[in-house]
Symmetry: C2
Subunit: 447 residues, 2 copies
C-alpha cells in the first residue's frame, strides 16, 4: 500500500499590485489602494502536481502583517494527512478558528480571521482540483448532511439551527440538476463598478457607463460619500448615460453617521439608486437598521467588511439590510460563507457578492453559483460585482459575457495567480516594486 499523502509545503508571499498609481479602486474611504494578496500555496507529497492556492485580500500596507498571520497557522497543516484534513473540512475549520491562543487576537475577526480564510480557501482549492471539479460544482454535489457538517452553528442557533439548515438544503435538492444546466448555459448575472470610481472624471464616468450598457450590463455602481453635490451630479450624469432601465447602485464605503446617512440618501433618492451600500460603520447593526427604516423603500446593502457570521446573523435579525454582500476573503473562508448563505436563505434576503480588488471576482463567483444551485435556488435580484482589473494575472480568470459571469469549468477555486505575476509583484523585491524608493519602516509618514 502506498504511503498516505501529507502536507509538505506552506509557501507564503507578499504580493502587491501598484493600483494607486492610476486611482483604480478609489473611493471615499480608500483613496489610494494598492490591491494586494497575502498569498499562500499549500503543497503535498502526493506526487500529483496539485497545489492549493488561497489568499487574503488587502489594499497595501499591512499585507506583511496578514502574511505573518497566515504563517501562524502553518503548524495546523504541514505534516498532516491530506485525506483527513480535506475529508472533514468542518473539523479542519474548527481546528483553525478554535486555536485557544490565536483566537484572542480576534476573536473571529480581522487579521487572524482573514488568515483562517486564506488557509481554508487554499484547502478547498486543492480539494476541488483533486476532485477534478470547479469549486461551485463540488459544493453543489455535496449532500445536505455534508454541507451542514461544514458549518459551525455556534452562536447561530437563535436564528438558524442545524435541523433548519438541513431542511432548507433538502428543499433545494430536487432542482439542483436543472439549475446546474441553466447556469452552465446562461451564466450568472453581473454588475459592474468599473465606471464609478471616485477618482474618475465625469467624462470617463459617462463613457464607461455607456460602454457597460453596450456590453450587456443591466446594473452599474457609483462610489459616493465624499461630497454631496458631486454625488448628485455624478448620479444624474450616469442616469443620463444609461437610461431609466439600468439599475444604478451607489456605495458610500462607511462614510456617514446614522443621521448624516439618512439626509444624504434622501438627497440621492430622487435619482433612483437601486441600493445604497455601506452607509455607515460595518459594525453598526442597529445603525444600518435605523437608516434602512428611515429611507425605505431605498434598499440598503452591506457586508464586504462584516467580519463574521455572528454579525450577519444580527443584521438579518434586526432588518439591517435588503441586500447581503458576502466577500470571499473577509470571513473564514468557504465554510463560513456557507453558513452566511444559509442564514440569508433562511431570512429570504438576496445575496449579491462583493468583488473587485484582486482575485475577489475569481473566488466569489463560485459561492454565488453554489448558492444558486444548492441553497437559495434562485438568481432573482442577485448579481455578482464585477470589476475588470487584474484578471490577466490569474491562471483561470473570470469570463464575463453580455453582463453575465460564465460558470468556471476548470478544477479548483480559480484562486491561482500565474507564477510570473507572483514573482513580478513580490513586495518589495519584485520587478514592479524594485524601482520604488525604499519605503519607510511601517506606514508612510503623514504630512
Amino acid at each position: 500500500m502506498a504511503a498516505r499523502a501529507r502536507f509538505t509545503g506552506f509557501r507564503t508571499l507578499d504580493v502587491r499590485f501598484p493600483t494607486s498609481r492610476h486611482l483604480d479602486g478609489s473611493d471615499a474611504m480608500n483613496p489610494d489602494p494598492d490591491y494586494s494578496a497575502a498569498y499562500l500555496v499549500i503543497g503535498t507529497d502526493a506526487g500529483d502536481g496539485l497545489e492549493g492556492h488561497g489568499f487574503a485580500f488587502t489594499i497595501g500596507r499591512g499585507n506583511d502583517v496578514q502574511v505573518a498571520a497566515i504563517e501562524a497557522l502553518a503548524g495546523y497543516v504541514v505534516g498532516r494527512d491530506v485525506e483527513e484534513v480535506l475529508g472533514d473540512m468542518g473539523a479542519t475549520w474548527r481546528s483553525f478558528v478554535d486555536d485557544s491562543q490565536l483566537r484572542w487576537l480576534g476573536p473571529e475577526k480581522g487579521v487572524v480571521h482573514m488568515a483562517v480564510g486564506a488557509v481554508v480557501n487554499a484547502l478547498w482549492d486543492l480539494r476541488a482540483k483533486r476532485a477534478g471539479l470547479p469549486l461551485w460544482d463540488l459544493l453543489s454535489r455535496l449532500s445536505p448532511e455534508e454541507l451542514v457538517s461544514l458549518v459551525d452553528f455556534r452562536y447561530l442557533t437563535d436564528a438558524l439551527t442545524e435541523q433548519e439548515a438541513l431542511e432548507l438544503l433538502r428543499a433545494a435538492e430536487p432542482g439542483r440538476a436543472a439549475r446546474r444546466e441553466a447556469l452552465l448555459r446562461e451564466g450568472y448575472p453581473a454588475y459592474t463598478t468599473t465606471p464609478g470610481w471616485l477618482g474618475y472624471s465625469d467624462d470617463k464616468l459617462v463613457r464607461l457607463a455607456r460602454e457597460a450598457v453596450a456590453e450587456g450590463f443591466t446594473q452599474i455602481k457609483l462610489k459616493v460619500g465624499a461630497d454631496l453635490d458631486d454625488d448628485v451630479r455624478r448620479l444624474r450624469l450616469a442616469r443620463g448615460a444609461v437610461g431609466p432601465d439600468v439599475r444604478i447602485a451607489v456605495d458610500a464605503n462607511q462614510r456617514w453617521d446614522v443621521g448624516q446617512a439618512v439626509e444624504w440618501i434622501a438627497a440621492l433618492a430622487p435619482h433612483d439608486p437601486w441600493w445604497v451600500e455601506e452607509p455607515t460603520s460595518p459594525d453598526d447593526v442597529l445603525g444600518h437598521a435605523a437608516i434602512r427604516r428611515a429611507v425605505a423603500p431605498v434598499r440598503i446593502a452591506t457586508g464586504e467588511h462584516v467580519h463574521n457570521r455572528v454579525v450577519f446573523k444580527q443584521m438579518l435579525q434586526a432588518g439591517s439590510l435588503d441586500v447581503l454582500q458576502i466577500d470571499a476573503a473577509r470571513v473564514a473562508g468557504v465554510n463560513e460563507n456557507v453558513a452566511i448563505l444559509l442564514l440569508a436563505a433562511r431570512f429570504g434576503v438576496p445575496v449579491c457578492p462583493h468583488a473587485g480588488g484582486v482575485g475577489l471576482c475569481e473566488l466569489v463567483q463560485h459561492l454565488a453559483m453554489f448558492d444558486l444551485v444548492a441553497v437559495s435556488g434562485t438568481a432573482r435580484d442577485r448579481v455578482i460585482e464585477h470589476v475588470d482589473h487584474l484578471h490577466e494575472h490569474f491562471v483561470d480568470p473570470v469570463r464575463v459575457r453580455g453582463g453575465r459571469y460564465l460558470a468556471p469549468t476548470a478544477p479548483g477555486f480559480s484562486a491561482q495567480v500565474r507564477e510570473e505575476s507572483l514573482q513580478r509583484h513580490l513586495f518589495p523585491t519584485g520587478a514592479e516594486w524594485a524601482g520604488e524608493p525604499a519605503p519607510p519602516r511601517g506606514a508612510g509618514v503623514p504630512a
Copy 2:
C-alpha cells in the same frame, strides 16, 4: 533656541510568560494561556531619559503577528515632532486609525486596532511622564474641551454628540477636586478573580476564596461554562466559603449560544451570582440583549473582547448589559476608552474594568480612576478586576490594600516592565524559553 525633540526610537519586543505551565488564567475558552505582551518602547532625542511604554496583551501564539502590526505603525511616529504628536492626541489617534490602507485589515478591530492601542498607550505613558503625573491625574486635569478633542465621534452621534459629551463633563467638573482627594485617601474598590480559575481544585478554590475575604475583598469571580454540575458545585462551595454578603460574579467566557445561556444562568441563579459575564459571542449585541431580558434580574456583564466604541454604543442602545467592562489594551488605547466611558456615563451604566493577564491591572486602574474623578463621578457598584499575577515584573506595580486599588502616584501609565523581565521572557530566545523545545512554525499541531 534648542532644537525641538523628535521621536527616534520604536523598539518592539515579543514577550511571553509561560503561565500555561501552572493553569493560571485557565477558563472555558482559554484553557492554556501564556500571558504575553507585544511590547513597545518609544524613545525621543529630548535628552530627558524618558520613554513611552505600551503593549498589546495576547495569550501566546500570535504575539509575533501582533508585534508585526505594531511595527506597521512605526512610520507614523519615528521622525515626528514630540510636542506636536503628544500635544494633539486626538489628531494623532486619527492618523493611526485612518491609515487608508491599514484600516482594511480591521477596520477598527482585531490585530490592527490593538496595535493602535499599544502605540497610543505608549504615547500617553510618555506624555504623563513628561508632565510628572500619573495618567489618571493627567487626564483628570484636562478641560472638558480638551477631553472631547481626544474622541472620534464618528459613528457615535446617534447616541452621543460632542455637545452632549461636553455637557456631561462640565457637570462633573465641580466635584473633581473632592473626588481626587477621596481617591488618594481611600483608593478604588477591587474584586478578585484569583480564586476562580477553572483549572483549580475545589480545595484551592475554597482556600483562595476565604483568603480573598480575609484580605478585604467584597467581591470575587469564578470561571464557569465548561460543565454545569461543576459550576453549580463550585458556586455553592464559594458561597459557603465567603458567606452571603460577599458578591460572587461568574464568567462564562463566551461559551454559550443564546438559548443555552438562558438555561445555564437559570440553573446558577439560585446561588445568587452578582453578574454573569460574557455569556455568548462578544459580537452578539442582540444575543446579549435577549439573554439579559430572559434572565433579569440577573445582571449581564461584557466588554473585554468588544472590539471598539461602535459595538459598545450598540450594546448600550440595545440594553445588552448591566455592567460595561472596558479593557485597556483591546480597543485603540486611551482615546477610545475615553469615548467608551462617556458613552457609559451617558447611558448610566457602571463601568467595571476587565483586568488580569499581564499588565492589564496596571493600565486600566488609571482609566477607572479618571472615570471616577472626571466622568461618571462615582465608584458606586463599580469595581476593578484584580488578579495577583505577574505584577512583580512591573516598575510601578499595582498596590491593592484591603480590597482596594491605591491610586498610582508615579508619573506615567504604569505600563513599564522591568528591563530584566523583558529580556528573560523574550520569545523564543529569552532564558525563560530557551530550555523549551523549538516550537513548530506557527501553531502546535493538534492531536
